[in-house]
C-alpha cells in the first residue's frame, strides 16, 4: 500500500512544477513593474532599475521560473512587495483558517449529502425525494456570498444566536461552514442519488435479494460500498470549488485566511503573494485528491490488489 502512496506522491511533483509554471507565466508575462509598485511613483528611475536588477526581474522568464522553482523547494516564495516580509511566513499564518474552513465544509457537506442522497435514491419519486431535488436545484443557483449574507441576516442579526464574523470560538465557524457546505451538500446529494440508483440496478444486488437479504442489508452491505467510490470522486472534484469558495466566504465573514491574503495582494498587485497563495491552494487540492485516491484503493479490492 505504501508503494502506491509513494508513487502518487511522486506523481504530484511534475504536476506541481507545471502548476507553478502556469501561474508564474500568467502573472509574469504582462509587464507590470513591481519595483515601481514597491518604491512608489515618486522614486527615481535609477532606483527602480537598481531594484529590478536586485530582484532579478530583468532576466529572461525561463531563468526566473527556474530560480523561483528552486526557491519553492526550499519553501522560499520570495519577498512580499507590500510588506517586504518573506511571503511564506505571511501565508503560513493565514493557512490554518482556510484549511479548517475547507475541511469542516467538506465533512459537513458529505455528512449531509451522502445519507440524504442514499435516502433519496431508496425512496425515489417520493415527496421527500422531490423536495430534495427542488432544494438542490435552488441551492445550486444561489451565489455563496449572498447565501452567507442571508444566513448572517437571519441567525446573527435577527435571531442573534450566532456570531456574524471574525474568529474566536468554534461557533464563529458555523455560519461560514454552513454557507460553503449547503450548496456542496446539494450537489453531493444529487450525485449520490444518481450513483446509488445506478448501483441498485446492478446484477449483484439482485443476487443479494435472491439470497434473502433485507433491504437495509442490501443498501448498507452491498450497494453503499460500491456506490461510495464514484461519490468520493465527486466529493474530491467538489473540493476545488469549495477551496475557491473560501476566497469569497472569508470576505463575507471577515475571516483571516488565504482568501483575504489573496484579495489584499490583488489590490496591491503583490505578485509573489498571489502566486504563493495560488500554489498553496493547488497543492492542498492535490493532497486531498491523493487522500481520496488512497481511500479508493482502500475500499476497492481491485485497486488494492495492484499494489500488494
Amino acid at each position: 500500500m505504501y508503494k502506491y502512496v509513494l508513487k502518487r506522491l511522486l506523481y504530484i511533483l511534475p504536476i506541481l512544477m507545471l502548476i507553478i509554471l502556469i501561474v508564474f507565466s500568467i502573472l509574469n508575462v504582462t509587464p507590470g513593474n513591481p519595483a515601481r509598485i514597491m518604491l512608489g511613483a515618486d522614486a527615481s528611475q535609477e532606483l527602480v532599475d537598481n531594484l529590478n536588477e536586485e530582484l532579478g526581474l530583468n532576466k529572461p522568464l525561463i531563468q526566473r521560473y527556474l530560480g523561483y522553482l528552486a526557491g519553492v523547494f526550499r519553501l522560499d516564495f520570495g519577498i512580499s512587495y507590500r510588506s517586504q516580509a518573506p511571503v511564506f511566513n505571511e501565508i503560513l499564518g493565514n493557512f490554518p483558517t482556510t484549511i479548517r474552513l475547507a475541511v469542516f465544509a467538506v465533512l459537513t457537506s458529505a455528512l449531509i449529502g451522502i445519507p440524504l442522497g442514499v435516502l433519496s435514491a431508496v425512496r425515489r419519486y417520493s415527496l421527500m425525494d422531490m423536495s430534495f431535488t427542488v432544494s438542490a436545484l435552488v441551492l445550486a443557483s444561489i451565489p455563496n456570498f449572498w447565501l452567507g449574507i442571508m444566513l448572517m441576516l437571519i441567525f446573527s442579526l435577527r435571531l442573534g444566536i450566532l456570531p456574524s464574523g471574525g474568529i474566536g470560538s468554534l461557533s464563529h465557524y458555523i455560519l461560514p461552514v454552513l454557507t460553503m457546505a449547503l450548496p456542496s451538500a446539494a450537489y453531493i446529494l444529487r450525485m449520490t442519488r444518481t450513483i446509488m440508483m445506478e448501483t441498485m440496478r446492478q446484477d449483484y444486488i439482485r443476487t443479494a435479494k435472491a439470497k434473502g437479504a433485507s433491504p437495509a442489508r442490501i443498501i448498507f452491505r452491498h450497494a453503499l460500498k460500491n456506490a461510495l467510490l464514484p461519490v468520493l470522486t465527486s466529493l474530491g472534484m467538489n473540493f476545488a470549488q469549495l477551496l475557491g469558495g473560501t476566497l469569497i466566504i472569508e470576505a463575507v465573514f471577515g475571516l483571516p485566511g488565504i482568501g483575504s491574503v489573496i484579495l489584499k495582494a490583488m489590490q496591491m498587485k503583490d505578485v509573489p503573494v498571489i502566486m504563493a497563495a495560488t500554489i498553496f491552494l493547488a497543492v492542498l487540492f492535490m493532497l486531498i485528491m491523493l487522500l481520496i485516491d488512497i481511500m479508493y484503493a482502500y475500499i476497492d479490492p481491485r485497486i488494492k490488489a495492484q499494489f500488494k
Binding site: Q202, D203, Y204, R206, T207, A208, K209, A210, K211, G212, A213, S214, R217, R221, H222, K225, N226, I299, D300, P301, R302, A305
Partner: protein, 326 residues
C-alpha cells in the same frame, strides 16, 4: 398434485409510463421433488421473468404479477409478505443467475458472499466456527480450494466465478434451485464441466431444479421434463422421452431442433426458424407463433390453440387436433 412447485395461469407484465409488455401470459407448470425441468426458449420468451416471479424479485417499479398463483410446498407465494418471502429466498428456493461476471459483488470477498445466506437464514450452522466450516465444505463441493475464500471475485476466472455463484445458491441446501442460463456466459469447455457438476450436486443433495436455457443440448443432458416457452406461453411440455425419442412436435420445437448443427448429417444446411420473436407490446392474434410458422393454417391466425394432451405430452397447436381424433 403432490408436486413441490405449482405454477397456475401465471401472468406477468412490465409496465412503464405508456408501454405495457406482456411477458408471461398464463403459464401452467409444476416441478416435483428431485426432478429437473428444462425451460427452453429464445431470448425474450419470458423465461427469466417467470423465474423472478417465483422468488418475487421482479424489477420493483415496473414488473407486476397480474394473475395466477404460485404454490410452493403448500405456501401461496404470491400472497406472502416480504418478510416471509425473505425466509424462502436463498434458504428453500435459490437462484443462479446468467452472468457470473456481474452477479458477484466486487467489493466483498468470495467467502463473505457465500456465508451471507447461511448467516441470514435459520440454518443448523449457528456459531462462527460452524459457519466457517460450512463455507469450506460448500466451496469444496463446487471444486474451489477453501483457502481461496479470502479472494475477491476479480481474482477468479469466469468458470470459477460461476462455481462461486453455485456455492452461494447451495449454501443453505435449498429444495429448489432455479438456474437461469447458468452456462451461457461461459466458454464451451467450461460449460460442460459446470453442467455435469450441477447435475451431480443435484443428485447428491436431492434438490429439484428448474433449468432455464435456450440450448436443447443442455436439456438433453440433464432434464427429466422439458417445457418450451414462446412469447410468454408454454407451447409444448413433456418428459425427456416425449421430446427426444418421439418425433411429433410443435412446429416451433421442430424449428429449435432444426437450429442445432448435426455432425452426422453433413449435407444438410442448418434449418433455422425464420423471423423474429413477436413484439411483446403487440402480440399477434390467434396462435402467437403463426407469423413464423411453416405449417400455418387459417384457423391459427384467428383462434388461439388449446392444449392437446397425449399421455405426458402436451402441445398447444391446432395441428394436433386431428391427430388427437385418430
Amino acid at each position: 398434485m403432490g408436486q413441490l412447485l405449482n405454477i397456475k395461469d401465471l401472468e406477468v407484465v412490465y409496465q412503464t409510463k405508456n408501454i405495457v409488455v406482456e411477458a408471461v401470459n398464463g403459464i401452467n407448470l409444476s416441478l416435483g421433488k428431485k426432478e429437473t425441468l428444462g425451460l427452453v426458449g429464445e431470448t425474450g420468451a419470458g423465461k427469466t421473468t417467470m423465474a423472478l416471479s417465483i422468488l418475487k424479485i421482479l424489477p420493483e417499479r415496473t414488473g407486476k404479477v397480474i394473475g395466477g398463483s404460485i404454490d410452493f410446498d403448500g405456501l401461496p407465494i404470491l400472497d406472502l409478505n416480504e418478510t416471509e418471502m425473505r425466509a424462502i429466498r436463498g434458504a428453500r428456493i435459490s437462484m443462479i443467475f446468467q452472468d457470473p461476471m456481474t452477479s458477484l459483488n466486487p467489493t466483498l470477498t468470495v467467502g463473505e458472499q457465500v456465508e451471507e445466506g447461511i448467516i441470514l437464514h435459520d440454518t443448523e450452522y449457528k456459531t462462527k466456527v460452524e459457519v466457517k466450516s460450512r463455507v469450506d465444505e460448500i466451496l469444496e463441493l463446487v471444486g474451489i480450494e477453501p483457502s481461496r475464500k479470502k479472494c475477491y471475485p476479480h481474482e477468479f476466472s469466469g468458470g470459477m466465478k460461476q462455481r462461486v455463484v453455485i456455492a452461494m445458491a447451495l449454501a443453505c441446501s435449498p429444495e429448489v434451485l432455479i438456474a437461469d442460463e447458468p452456462t451461457t456466459a461461459l466458454d464451451v469447455t467450461i460449460q460442460a464441466q459446470v453442467l455435469s457438476m450441477m447435475d451431480d450436486l443435484k443428485e447428491k443433495l436431492g434438490m429439484s431444479m428448474l433449468l432455464i436455457t435456450h440450448d436443447l443440448g443442455v436439456v438433453a443432458k440433464i432434464c427429466d421434463y422439458v417445457a418450451v416457452m414462446y412469447a410468454g406461453e408454454i407451447i409444448e411440455y413433456g418428459t425427456f422421452e416425449d421430446f427426444f425419442i418421439n418425433h411429433k412436435h410443435h412446429p416451433y420445437t421442430k424449428g429449435l431442433f432444426g437450429s442445432i448443427p448435426n455432425i452426422r448429417d453433413r449435407s444438410k444446411r442448418l434449418n433455422p426458424i425464420e423471423g423474429l420473436m413477436p413484439d411483446p407490446t403487440n402480440l399477434p392474434m390467434g396462435c402467437k407463433f403463426h407469423p413464423r410458422c411453416k405449417q400455418c393454417m387459417e384457423i391459427c391466425k384467428v383462434k388461439p390453440p388449446q392444449i392437446y394432451v397425449n399421455g405426458t405430452h402436451r402441445v398447444k397447436c391446432h395441428l394436433f387436433e386431428k391427430q388427437e381424433v385418430e
